[in-house]
Symmetry: C2
Subunit: 191 residues, 2 copies
């Protein structure tokens, strides 16, 4: 599924069942961070016109999702608050190479990878949760996360030939599967 | 005009006449930075629902302006590129107090101040440039910058009483007028 090397297992669903409120709050933070990632990519690769255009759409969509999660929290009487993030994002970002153009390839692939995992988790959550409103909500986000994954992966080819990108994608997606398999004690969207 | 303590003078118009291309490129960078400022405010004040809503709209609008400037550059055969920024933004940000809630007040007032100055410069440019397409373009941006100024100034009152905000606004706007009067050798939107 979307190049992912491992699917979500029972350990995470147990975290969801025990801490659904935290998962929802963390989800809002993830949407906000996704908007920040896309905006940062505009800042760093301003000369790439297509990238700027695509990233602008992603910023808008992620912020729209952010507000949809906030509304959901409000409706459920869950106060939005700061939350210690999972290590998932920082562990992935640590894999990004420092030199350009490899850095651009990795930043785009990692962003696409996080979208892919979010997409997989939304799909898993839609099937897992009993609450129909919540299930519909997760289903409604699925398509755009899949699209973002594709956009990021395609844009990586602006910075390296397709076969080079694909080799690196394999490496990063293997590393991500290992991080997910290891898991984290905090209940988070990507724990 | 919009609380500003000094209007743009002949020195800046001379920079515009000599380096219009750089002013246009810098303008694109300014729109991008304005989107970043609004997104950062969401990151720092996530608990303020109205602020998050207003900042989201500003992010979207600034990115739309960014693309409009990019299109204008393309149409004129001007290559968008990195540019050493003016000192204006960093000198204003240096005035932001470190402790909350004063920090929030200052960040919002400084953001509103930059919008006010942009607004004043767009209005001045619309009257100054001979090119009717460019004059119309600047005129079309005027209204939203004025609205953003009002939004930021109003949101500052979420973090301090109105009279405290107004006193601080006076101080910051005096400091800004001094920075603008001093000027800078680089031709920039806020030089």
């Amino acid at each position: 599924m979307l190049h992912l090397k491992a699917l979500t297992d029972a350990r995470w669903f147990a975290q969801v069942d025990a801490h659904l409120d935290e998962i929802l709050i963390d989800h809002a933070h993830c949407e906000k961070k996704a908007a920040g990632t896309a905006l940062n990519l505009i800042f760093h690769y301003v000369e790439d016109r297509e990238l700027c255009q695509e990233m602008t759409e992603i910023v808008n969509e992620e912020l729209e999702h952010f507000h949809r999660v906030l509304e959901l929290l409000e409706k459920r009487g869950i106060k939005f608050r700061r939350l210690r993030p999972s290590q998932y994002g920082s562990r992935l970002h640590a894999l990004v190479r420092k030199q350009e153009p490899e850095r651009a390839v990795d930043r785009l692939l990692v962003a696409g990878l996080i979208e892919a995992r979010s997409c997989e988790r939304f799909s898993a959550l839609a099937d897992h949760v009993d609450d129909p409103e919540l299930a519909d909500f997760y289903r409604s986000l699925f398509e755009s996360e899949a699209r973002h994954h594709t956009t990021y992966t395609r844009l990586a080819q602006h910075f390296a030939p397709e076969e080079v990108v694909n080799l690196r994608l394999e490496e990063l997606y293997e590393a991500e599967a290992a991080i997910i398999a290891e898991g984290e004690p905090l209940a988070r969207m990507h724990s």
